[in-house]
């Protein structure tokens, strides 16, 4: 499980997650992920394109950070880039209806500025 980020501009931060976001992997990155999302100014794109497995613990981290963003007037979106394994999990749990989810990088960033 790996995590890194890039500030696209003053408003948007992209957080890249890769590898297996199973229960162990989610525990491994939970604190750093929450801190990175929390310290973003306006919006966060969480890039799940290279995640090979997404557990309920991983979804829990996504929900907690999306709610924290919302509470401070920001927004969080997900980018999956056609990752079927991740998309299927988001659909199965209904999370794709709660946190806007995009295949395309530009669409994801645009959604944060709307």
């Amino acid at each position: 499980m790996a995590i890194h980020y890039e500030d696209v501009n003053e408003d948007i931060r992209r957080i890249f997650l890769s590898g297996r976001l199973d229960t162990a992997g989610s525990e491994q990155i939970a604190t750093e992920f929450a801190e990175l999302a929390e310290s973003a100014k306006r919006g966060v794109v969480v890039d799940l394109s290279d995640v090979t497995f997404l557990s309920s613990m991983g979804i829990r981290a996504l929900i907690a950070s999306a709610k924290a963003q919302q509470a401070k007037g920001g927004r969080m979106v997900l980018q999956v880039s056609g990752n079927d394994v991740v998309s299927r999990t988001l659909e199965a749990t209904g999370i794709d209806e709660l946190i806007p989810t995009f295949d395309d990088e530009a669409d994801a960033e645009r959604a944060l500025l709307d």
Binding site: R20, D22, T23, A24, G25, E27, F53, S55, S56, M57, I59, R60, A61, I63, A64, A66, K67, Q70, V85, T89, A92, T93, G94, I95, L98, I99
Partner: protein, 152 residues
């Protein structure tokens, strides 16, 4: 535990912790491939296993964490219909996910309503075709079934 004609059920014993849960996933993938289970079905089984073990670790209580968790896996094939069964046996507090009311694990309607948790059972139900449960000799025995068809 059903099995194919040539391969007996595979078994693994792990500890009730998240790193052994990952070891269990590696084992599951290996034995499922050996049983010629398609990758898409292995992903379903893998999700069910991770969530089942997370439930044991998170909600099973102290006994679940200090007692071995036993896993069994087998595949049955009959006239193009294939059924994989994965059993998880733990010594945690009694809990039957197969009859746990679905309305107690609803899909959240909004981000505001969403709670950061409670999705594990929803995922097990989504990714499996059948769940069965029994309590025997102080242990939970959960069997997760995934089915698919195979071209002749």
């Amino acid at each position: 535990m059903p099995s194919s004609a040539t391969q007996p059920p595979a078994e693994l014993t792990i500890r009730g912790d998240t790193w052994d849960a990952r070891r269990a996933s590696v084992w599951l993938t290996s034995v499922a491939l050996a049983h010629r289970v398609p990758p898409a079905q292995i992903v379903r089984l893998d999700h069910c296993l991770d969530e089942a073990l997370a439930n044991v670790i998170t909600h099973g209580g102290p006994t679940a964490l200090t007692s071995p968790v036993r896993l069994q896996f087998g595949v049955r094939r009959s006239q193009g219909t294939c059924t994989a069964e994965l059993s998880v046996a733990d010594a945690g507090v009694a809990f039957d996910p197969s009859t746990y009311p679905p309305e107690r694990t609803p899909r959240p309607a909004s981000l505001a309503e969403a709670k950061p948790g409670g999705l594990g059972l929803l995922m097990i139900r989504s990714f499996s075709d059948d769940l069965s449960y029994r309590r025997s000799e102080g242990r939970n025995h959960l069997t997760i079934t995934v089915s698919w068809t195979e071209a002749a």
